[in-house]
């Protein structure tokens, strides 16, 4: 099954490799137009976080993003990168410090993958061996085999591979800020999901500040530490972390945009480890039946769960197993579905429903039972305010 990652948590800020980005009433009016494409946009992206710009087509997402590296001139207002206005920077120099990846990728068809990735390092005059080492490192980072890929031309890559090369190229000079305009937009859903997960995993390592443009609210929820919902005319409708956006949309526009199923969408933001599980009545073969019965009474689960010596689940015990002095190995059913601590609630729920089960054992990384997840618990989670379930970066870090 294709496991999805939960959305980003608010990551630890202020890594030296990332920059703080601040829009200050940034406005763009295209020549010959009366209405602004981006209207007095003000927001701050803390260093090391992914800020997703989302909104319907033509609402000014691309324009807002491209003002940051001055691909589009700012009409009024300002944009600050680590406190310094981009308006006083030389555009070419500024852009070499900012990673840039677009939906169409724009790989150079006449250059090999290695030469494509080496573009910015060469513009910056890096020595040859440093560039070469960096290219291989980046290819590995984006899950491509350097030996196999290095000397290929873009025409010899699949769409997903090209997209990875595009991301590697944008990361080449280790920029403190990345701009990504619908980077996975042209990819089929399965590969898009894979690329999203890979990018989130990558981001955990590199902790860049990222401005990520998409028109897909699900992608925004998944990728964003913070989401800026833009409205036609380039007005900021709401700027908030995903859970807050889903829980408290601040008006009709955002409410409609996030969709009627926003409660369900929140399930994609929470991992099983983030919520309080039921205690599992774990018993082993040969244990006194009295003990087993007491464990069941202490638990919300009606049946004891038989585990092996290492705590791995063998199955739910039947009444027959508890008739004698000691517990025997009479199972009523197998311990399915087995949910993992790192699964997101949406996937766990889906597993429970698929197995027509009310509850299932939750396994830790070693496969030992850590608790029991039930439909009832998920129901509670849907009603809880998001702050309690967003437990910070440790859940992510454990995901490796």
């Amino acid at each position: 099954m294709n496991r999805s990652e939960p959305a980003q948590e608010q990551g630890p800020s202020a890594r030296p490799a990332a920059a703080t980005l601040e829009f200050r009433e940034a406005t763009k009016i295209y020549p010959g137009q009366d209405d602004p494409a981006v209207d007095a946009l003000s927001l701050t992206v803390p260093a090391g976080e992914i800020c997703v710009l989302v909104g319907p087509s033509g609402c000014g997402k691309t324009t807002a993003m491209r003002m940051v590296n001055r691909m589009i001139d700012i009409t009024s207002g300002d944009i600050l990168l680590d406190g310094r206005s981009v308006r006083e920077r030389r555009p070419a120099e500024l852009r070499r410090e900012i990673g840039y990846a677009i939906q169409q990728i724009g790989l150079f068809p006449h250059l090999t993958v290695a030469d494509n990735i080496a573009t910015v390092p060469r513009l910056l005059g890096w020595p040859k061996d440093r560039t070469r080492a960096r290219v291989d490192q980046l290819l590995e980072l984006v899950s491509l085999d350097p030996a196999d890929t290095r000397d290929r031309y873009p025409a010899q890559l699949s769409g997903g591979q090209r997209q990875r090369v595009g991301v590697a190229r944008a990361l080449a000079a280790d920029p403190p800020l990345m701009l990504m305009d619908e980077p996975f937009g042209a990819i089929d859903p399965i590969n898009r999901e894979r690329l999203q997960n890979e990018f989130l995993r990558l981001q955990k390592e590199i902790r860049k500040t990222v401005v990520f443009v998409t028109h897909d609210i699900d992608e925004a929820i998944k990728m964003g530490d913070r989401i800026a919902v833009l409205q036609r005319g380039g007005k900021l409708a709401q700027y908030a972390p995903p859970a807050e956006l889903l829980m408290y949309p601040n008006g009709r526009f955002v409410e409609d945009f996030v969709g009627a199923d926003r409660a369900l969408k929140r399930l994609a933001l929470q991992r099983v480890r983030d919520i309080d599980l039921w205690k599992a009545p774990l018993v082993r073969v040969g244990e006194p039946v009295a003990d087993a019965r007491r464990k069941v009474q202490d638990s919300d689960v009606p049946y004891p769960l038989l585990v092996d010596a290492d705590g791995r689940p063998l199955g739910w015990l039947s009444e027959r197993a508890l008739t004698g002095e000691r517990v025997t190995e009479d199972l009523r059913s197998k311990a399915e579905p087995a949910v993992e601590l790192d699964d997101v609630l949406r996937d766990a729920l889906s597993d429970l429903l698929a197995n027509e089960a009310q509850y299932g054992p939750v396994l830790d990384a070693r496969g030992a039972v850590a608790g029991v997840l039930s439909l009832e618990i998920i129901g509670h989670a849907l009603q809880e305010p998001p702050e309690q379930v967003r437990s910070g970066a440790d859940a992510l870090a454990a995901d490796g």
Partner: protein, 250 residues
């Protein structure tokens, strides 16, 4: 010796004229080594004209294409180039400026510019906008974009233009003797001095030069096509465009 090419009839006579030469009734040496001089002069005139034409039209075409302006100039120039016959152009120049190498070169340069300029311009504007956008977004300056992205991608089509012009110029240099420069056109125009055999011999030489140039530049064109471009799935359509480009400018 005479028998060598005899079985080829008049054609054989012409070949013999080229390789062995003749002495005319007036006692002048024609054909043979004298043809080498004519060929040299022909090539010199064509080569200098082509070099100047390239030096003007490639940078101009790259620049216009880069800023994506001047399509009017590039296109109408090629139309004018097609509409005005080269003979008329030379007649015009010789009449106004007088004869001589420089004036003749100037008119051949004007003849050679349109195909190269148009092809250069068109090929640069055909480079994917996203590719250029990515280059700009990564911090390439305008000059770097031209040098590292647009020029390499435009090179095949540019050479297509050079090929058309070169063949044109070589053919047109035949009428140079009218302006006082003795090229391979001399035996064709001054039949009295060379005879019909000499005329045919010169025609063969001009044709051979043109074909040689066409083939050589064709090979160069293939050689400068970046490996990555040959692999593009739309290579077929790209070839179509190149061929179209040739037709559009000839």
């Amino acid at each position: 010796m005479t028998t060598t090419y005899a079985f080829l009839g008049e054609f054989g006579d012409a070949l013999q004229f080229i390789f062995q030469g003749e002495t005319t009734r007036e006692g002048a040496e024609v054909g043979g080594s004298q043809f080498l001089d004519l060929t040299w002069e022909h090539l010199k005139l064509s080569g200098v004209s082509m070099a100047i034409a390239c030096a003007i039209s490639i940078p101009l075409g790259l620049w216009l294409g880069h800023i994506r302006r001047g399509s009017f100039l590039a296109i109408s120039l090629s139309n004018v180039g097609r509409a005005v016959p080269s003979l008329a152009l030379i007649a015009f120049f010789v009449a106004y400026l007088g004869t001589g190498f420089a004036n003749l070169t100037l008119s051949l340069v004007l003849l050679a510019i349109p195909p190269i300029l148009t092809n250069t311009y068109v090929s640069v504007t055909q480079v994917e906008r996203d590719t250029v956008d990515a280059a700009r977004g990564m911090g390439m300056t305008g000059a770097e974009i031209v040098r590292k992205v647009e020029l390499p991608l435009a090179l095949p089509l540019i050479f297509g233009g050079i090929r058309i012009s070169a063949v044109n110029v070589i053919a047109t240099a035949t009428i140079a003797p009218l302006a006082g420069i003795n090229t391979l056109g001399d035996p064709i125009i001054n039949v009295s001095g060379y005879g019909d055999t000499g005329r045919l011999a010169a025609a063969i030489c001009v044709a051979a030069l043109a074909i040689f140039t066409e083939l050589t530049l064709g090979a160069v064109q293939r050689a400068v096509t970046p490996a990555g471009l040959k692999l593009e799935p739309d290579t077929a359509s790209r070839r179509m465009r190149i061929r179209f480009g040739r037709e559009a400018t000839t």
